[in-house]
């Protein structure tokens, strides 16, 4: 086992090493960003290995252990159903990351495609797209999400969609302005002159060149998506009990029982804050490294 590991390290292709060096360089230059990345990594591990890490089943009610304060058995205490809060926080990272990744990936990607297409085709298409995006942009994030939830109903996937929709115009706006500059580049004209199709130009030549704003936005939206999911779940419009989710854990009981069991309100809130904090920290540094002038609303 150890030998195999040594072998892979030795045989690591230069590409991998370059990556490793880039990471070390990033961490040196931007310690805050590295700290963020570390927290994210830990969260991702917690989510992946929840079955191993969590001391209890997050769904099992245990009426003999209701409202137990934090102790050696239950580090974060137990909730109104006697469920282990630590286990629920650990499993909750799954929900948060899943909703966060899906919606920010979908939102940014769709937005980027729309933004590029809009910039690339220009003219009428651009004008129409811009108006459409303007309409969506003029809803505050949570208001649009609430309208989407009203139409689709609650549930994990609907929440992902509800968060995706308001992300799209925001991503489209930023990517479009980057893509506008690209459109003027000679290589695009060259490709067109060679008879390359529109969509091929978009996917092969323009998309890779907007990677910087794309990645920056992806990380920025991740934090926002997690926050939005927590807000929706807090309002009872997100994921459903008994699914472990941080916003849901803060809903109702956590506030009502806050005096008797403050740990119920404390730990999920901390988890949300830490997660969003890490993503923003990392996203900020990533922006500084890739494209310091970019502004993401």
């Amino acid at each position: 086992m150890a030998q195999a590991q040594a072998l892979t390290t030795l045989a690591a292709p230069p590409r991998l090493r370059r990556w490793a060096e880039a990471c070390v360089g990033f961490a040196r230059a931007r310690p805050l960003g590295a700290a963020g990345a570390l927290i994210i990594l830990m969260m991702a591990l917690a989510a992946l290995l929840a079955d191993v890490i969590a001391p209890y089943d997050p769904l099992t009610n245990n009426y003999a252990a209701m409202f137990r304060p934090p102790d050696a058995l239950h580090w974060f205490g137990t909730d109104a159903f006697g469920r282990d809060v630590l286990s629920r926080v650990v499993y909750g990272s799954r929900t948060a990351l899943w909703v966060g990744f899906c919606s920010s990936f979908l939102g940014t990607t769709l937005g980027a495609l729309i933004g590029i297409a809009s910039a690339y085709f220009g003219g009428r298409t651009d004008l129409l797209m811009q108006r459409l995006m303007d309409i969506l942009l003029s809803f505050p994030l949570i208001v649009l999400a609430l309208v989407v939830v009203a139409v689709l109903g609650t549930g994990l996937w609907n929440v992902v969609l509800a968060i995706t929709v308001p992300m799209i115009p925001r991503a489209a706006l930023v990517v479009r302005s980057s893509a506008l500059a690209l459109r003027q580049m000679p290589f695009v004209d060259a490709a067109l002159a060679l008879g390359v199709g529109h969509w091929r130009v978009i996917f092969r030549h323009m998309l890779p060149n907007v990677m910087a704003p794309y990645l920056i936005m992806l990380t920025a939206f991740l934090g926002q998506a997690i926050l939005l999911e927590a807000s929706l779940s807090f309002l009872g419009l997100g994921v459903a009990e008994p699914t472990p989710a941080w916003g849901l854990m803060l809903r109702g009981a956590a506030v009502e029982f806050a005096e008797r069991a403050p740990w119920m309100a404390l730990f999920p809130g901390l988890a949300i804050s830490l997660a969003v904090f890490a993503f923003n920290l990392f996203g900020d540094s990533l922006r500084d490294a890739l494209d310091p002038k970019l502004r993401v609303a």
Binding site: I135, S231, L235
Partner: protein
């Protein structure tokens, strides 16, 4: 300039029309019906006939297109109709809430500005020192901590440690300034923190950008006095994007404080919005979305105007 202005104003119309159409039809697609909700929602039984009577009374039995046209026609004449829930004129219902929401938005903005300008500038000037790091961590934390959770914590601390609670009903500022501030200060702080985080970050990056400009570098090299002069000059330019961000956040605050208002029991626009959308009070929800969108579009317009006015480099056809 005048032409640009006119163009900008005219562009607002299709956007708002689009918002209106979108929200109108989305709401009708959403499952649920205000009449059914009202009766069944309390566990009371209402016969079909009673439900149909109510629906007819609210005009819900008319064809969709007709409802839409009559609604639009009303809006053109600044008549938003009546709330399907209370039967009262929507303008009156909104006016009561807008006073609170506006004041809260203004207070949060003041808090945000007071925090953001000095902190953001400081962080930029001392880039990559511990000062910068502290400011950045503070502001990123502001983005990360959910305002509603912060609100819950504030209330708990008051209740448990001080046995006191901010007033739960709204008193206009001109009636009783103290009671008014005692109620709104806390939510303004909870919201203002997040808001200040957004503005601090913008200030920092804007100032950094200015500091990179050649003429500033020269000035800095030359000495203190000149540096001060140029900095003041430069700051004015740097502030443009900051103003833009503050303006847009302000517009957002008017309708977007959905969760915070619930935690503090504020009778504001956000609470009204959640209530009307869950009740399927179509007319009220439509009017509110339109109002919030209008605020957003209008502030955007003002920001553009400001840009054009302050920055002679920007020219508009």
């Amino acid at each position: 300039m005048r032409r640009y202005l006119l163009q900008r104003v005219l562009l607002m119309i299709p956007t708002l029309f689009g918002v209106a159409a979108l929200v109108f039809f989305l709401l009708r697609v959403a499952p649920g019906d205000i009449v059914e909700l009202k009766y069944a929602g309390t566990g009371a039984f209402a016969p079909k006939e009673a439900i149909e009577r109510e629906r007819a009374q609210l005009g819900l039995d008319r064809p969709l297109a007709e409802q839409f046209v009559s609604w639009m026609w009303g809006i053109v004449r600044f008549d938003f109709g009546t709330s399907m829930w209370t039967g009262k004129p929507i303008a009156d219902e909104i006016r009561i809430r807008l006073e609170l929401s506006l004041q809260l938005a203004i207070m949060a903005t003041l808090i945000a500005i007071a925090l953001a300008l000095p902190l953001g500038t400081l962080a930029a000037v001392k880039q990559d020192t511990w000062v910068d790091y502290v400011v950045r961590v503070f502001s990123i934390a502001g983005l990360a901590v959910p305002s509603f959770w912060l609100g819950i914590l504030i209330i708990l601390v008051f209740l448990i440690f001080f046995k006191w609670l901010p007033p739960l009903t709204f008193t206009p500022f001109w009636v009783d300034p103290k009671a008014n501030l005692m109620q709104l200060l806390w939510p303004a702080l909870a919201v203002g923190y997040r808001y200040s985080a957004v503005a601090t970050r913008m200030t920092r990056s804007a100032v950094l950008e200015v500091l990179r400009e050649d003429y500033i570098r020269t000035a800095r090299a030359k000495g203190l006095w000149e540096r001060a002069v140029v900095m003041r000059h430069a700051l004015r330019n740097a502030l443009l994007p900051v103003v833009a961000v503050i303006g847009l956040e302000f517009a957002f605050l008017i309708g977007g404080l959905v969760v915070t208002e619930q935690v503090f029991n504020l009778n504001g626009i956000g609470m009204l919005f959640v209530e009307s959308i869950t009740r399927r009070d179509y007319t009220m929800t439509q009017a509110l979305v339109l109002l919030v969108s209008f605020a957003f579009v209008f502030v955007n317009f003002l920001v553009d105007l400001l840009y054009a006015w302050l920055d002679p480099r920007i020219r508009y056809g």
